[in-house]
């Protein structure tokens, strides 16, 4: 067992999760493949959404995978950073909008 939780090489081993439970892994990868295919949204658009979500969920494997994927699919550095800002703004906004809840509570109890 490695003495750290994240290892870049593990990304390449993602497909091996079927080793412990194959039917569910097969279902996941089939679904995953379909999700990212060309459909009502293009594969390119989906890649940028994935990049933003990867940052929101702070998954280093996903950031590694979709930074490459989005750049390979033709997004510029500026476009990719703007997508990350969208993720950050939603996360920041999500924290901040709870300020209303805080205000509600304080107003409820304050004289």
């Amino acid at each position: 067992m490695e003495n750290h939780y994240y290892n870049a090489e593990d990304l390449g081993k993602f497909g091996n999760i079927g080793e412990f439970q194959k039917p569910l892994a097969d279902k996941f990868f089939a679904w995953y493949g379909e999700v990212f295919g060309e459909s009502s949204l293009t594969a390119k658009e989906k890649s940028l959404i994935a990049l933003a979500v990867a940052h929101a969920v702070q998954c280093p494997y996903c950031i590694d995978a979709y930074s490459s994927d989005a750049f390979e699919k033709g997004y510029s550095e500026a476009q990719m950073m703007e997508a990350v800002h969208v993720a950050a703004a939603i996360k920041g906004g999500a924290a901040l909008v709870h300020g209303v809840q805080m205000m509600n509570k304080v107003k409820e109890i304050a004289m």
Partner: protein, 351 residues
């Protein structure tokens, strides 16, 4: 930027490149890389044999007006190796005697910089062969003497295949040099003006996409659609097809991979993406590549690694069709570049 040769780089020695391809850089898992020949053995296609002698690809010289970061030829203004008229005549003799060669594909460097280029095209045309010129676009604007190239190409019904690594300035200039995008756009407009790429003209203008970095090309179909939309909208440019070509881990691109610490990861990417159907359609099976000095190779990449065809008579002056058809194609780890993902050839994806 100078060529690797002018810089005195160790990579200008082809054996050094082959050593790196075969042994890796002694980092990470290079020693674990599966041999390309083993992959073909598993497909029962080793040794790899030609299917026919159909495309006659001639590299008329390493001289070029550009110095691109990914160039597998290590071409540039400082390269003086160009094909002589005598060697061109030997090529013409072979083309005349061998009807199986339907297409002549001229590349370089910038092939137009060879002083005998126009004469050569005229002579090939007399033999009724389809001619492709791999034109880097900027050469058309580089000097007054090249300004009429679009008309010359049109006159001889030459198919023009041109590199445009991306439909944006940033990525193109990063790979091919500052100002290349702007000049390429002007050149494409000049080609359009004489009818190239225009529907119904029968004047073929195809573009080539190369990744500007250590990654594989995205889908050829998707990129072609994006290129067509962007170039039409921004510059009113039309063209026929887009060919996505994978960068081979040799020469200047190998230098880039090594300098940036991307070599092992790039090789892993190529190997992981090995596609058996691309492997069966590799271009070396129907192509013969001729170097500026007349030696014959299985492809332009083997040419740049100085891996000559595996027959006893290696020079175009000693051409023997039967021997060449029976030869085994020389393979090494760089061949993974042609079999990754949708595959790669001088005509784009193959699978």
């Amino acid at each position: 930027m100078k060529s690797l040769k002018a810089q005195g780089s160790i990579l200008s020695n082809t054996q050094q490149q082959i050593d790196i391809l075969e042994q890796g850089t002694n980092q990470n898992n290079s020693s674990k890389q599966l041999l390309f020949t083993e992959k073909l053995e598993a497909l029962e296609h080793y040794p790899l044999k030609p299917t026919q002698l159909e495309i006659f690809q001639i590299n008329v010289g390493k001289m070029c007006n550009q110095v691109c970061q990914h160039c597998h030829v290590d071409a540039g203004p400082d390269r003086k190796e160009i094909m002589t008229v005598e060697t061109m005549q030997q090529c013409l003799d072979v083309l005349k005697a061998n009807a199986s060669f339907k297409t002549v594909d001229l590349t370089g460097g910038a092939p137009e910089m060879n002083p005998h280029f126009r004469w050569f095209i005229e002579e090939i045309k007399k033999l009724n062969k389809h001619i492709i010129v791999r034109c880097n676009l900027t050469i058309i604007l580089a000097n007054k003497k090249y300004h009429d190239l679009p008309d010359f190409f049109k006159q001889h019904r030459v198919e023009v295949v041109s590199s445009l690594p991306f439909y944006s300035k940033d990525r193109t200039d990063r790979q091919r040099g500052t100002g290349v995008f702007g000049d390429s756009i002007k050149a494409l407009q000049l080609l359009n003006r004489v009818g190239y790429g225009v529907e119904g003209s029968n004047l073929l203008l195809n573009l080539v996409y190369n990744p500007a970095g250590a990654f594989l090309p995205a889908s050829q179909t998707t990129l072609e659609k994006e290129y067509k939309e962007a170039l039409q909208k921004e510059f009113n440019i039309v063209f026929n097809n887009l060919y996505t070509i994978t960068n081979m881990p040799i020469s200047r691109y190998l230098d880039y991979l090594l300098r940036t610490g991307n070599y092992e990861k790039y090789m892993d990417k190529l190997i992981t993406a090995f596609n058996p159907s691309a492997a069966l359609n590799v271009m070396c099976r129907n192509t013969l590549s001729i170097g500026w000095d007349g030696f014959m190779y299985d492809c332009d990449f083997n040419q740049m690694l100085d891996l000559k065809v595996a027959v006893s008579q290696e020079h175009i002056s000693q051409f023997n069709a039967a021997d060449l058809l029976n030869r085994s194609i020389i393979l090494n780890q760089h061949c993974y570049g042609c079999t990754a993902g949708s595959g790669s050839s001088c005509g784009g994806a193959v699978a």
